[in-house]
Symmetry: C2
């Protein structure tokens, strides 16, 4: 039987697997990205492959936390595929600006770091343009970009065995809450005599008005 | 017909509504919390009611961003109900330690802030114990706690009209990426001559080894 050339073949491999074992096809995961992230972002697609690579290399049964080195796109891939979310304390975003994630054993700190290796983007023009931000976003090329990422499979990513600093392993419990004498709201007593929201330099509000 | 006392009546009101219009019953949303957050956290349940209250008060059609004043639980409620996620840039966690969220118009900065009002927790013993962290967590009481939160409906939350500081409205584009001469990875060129990951003081890794 005549086979189509490789790049024309219909790719039936799953794109990624979630921590509970569910496989997502490329198109299924693209839909999940749209529903959670708002639009089919290439960064979340790439991030899903990265999270998938890292999870497959973690020893079975290990409870792991995640560190994400950028706040752009990648946190959502981690939240969609691993048990780690922004709100449950198992995902920490450390804004280093690198497109990289680490999953690590909560107790030992040993883990796997996966990153985009710029050298390996060379043959993928659209991906390179998008990743380096050297050309304005081209909406008409966005499907080409997604298909390039798909074709590249796991060829864009470097993998490292790493150890995480001890201060990232232990979580200091926030202790009992106190009532702030300025706003009357509760806050972690250890923060000081008034809450951080009532110190102008840390707040984000210009004005407030009780309804 | 004889009616059961109010606290015994089966509560059929939806607990919260997601931004696309889907209503969740209390039990449905508890399941969604378990699947995303890992366990039926009271903080996410409370957070969902808070996000619901805030969204209903935003003018129709306004594009809004979210600020969350704690990293505990509340970010997940915001991510499950609003279009704002950690990875799409529309949710910002400002770690003030208060259990409060603000949704605001991306352009004008006008918005709605919803917070837990400690004074209104008075009649809800389990909720008060849990919120103030004054007693150790009691697993056997966790269902009682969830049911108390349910019965309280929207009676625990204060609402304010607020304006957000201008620096929270504009997002500085990160600009083109450069290659770090130390690690060979890409990073936002504006960060300096080497990437933040290669400055020991900002990194989170003790050691790394290329596989």
């Amino acid at each position: 039987m005549i086979q189509p050339p490789e790049e024309m073949a219909i790719d039936t491999r799953p794109w990624c697997r979630a921590h509970r074992g569910r496989d997502y096809s490329f198109d299924e995961f693209l839909k999940l990205i749209e529903s959670f992230h708002g639009y089919p972002a290439p960064g979340v697609l790439i991030g899903a492959k990265m999270a998938d690579i890292a999870m497959r290399r973690m020893p079975a049964g290990v409870l792991f936390d995640a560190v994400c080195e950028t706040s752009k796109c990648l946190p959502d891939a981690i939240q969609l595929l691993t048990p780690c979310t922004s709100g449950n304390g198992w995902l920490r975003v450390v804004p280093l600006g690198r497109f990289a994630l680490t999953l690590f054993d909560k107790r030992s700190g040993h883990g796997i770091r996966v990153y985009v290796n710029p050298a390996w983007l060379e043959p993928y023009f659209e991906t390179r343009y998008w990743f380096f931000g050297t050309k304005p976003k081209r909406k008409d090329k966005s499907d080409l970009l997604l298909q390039e990422i798909r074709q590249a499979q796991d060829r864009l990513y470097g993998i490292q065995e790493v150890r995480v600093k001890p201060e990232f392993l232990s979580k200091t419990p926030s202790g009992p809450r106190a009532i702030c004498p300025e706003c009357g709201e509760a806050y972690p007593g250890g923060h000081g005599l008034i809450c951080r929201g009532c110190r102008f330099e840390t707040g984000y509000l210009l004005s407030e008005e009780i309804k």
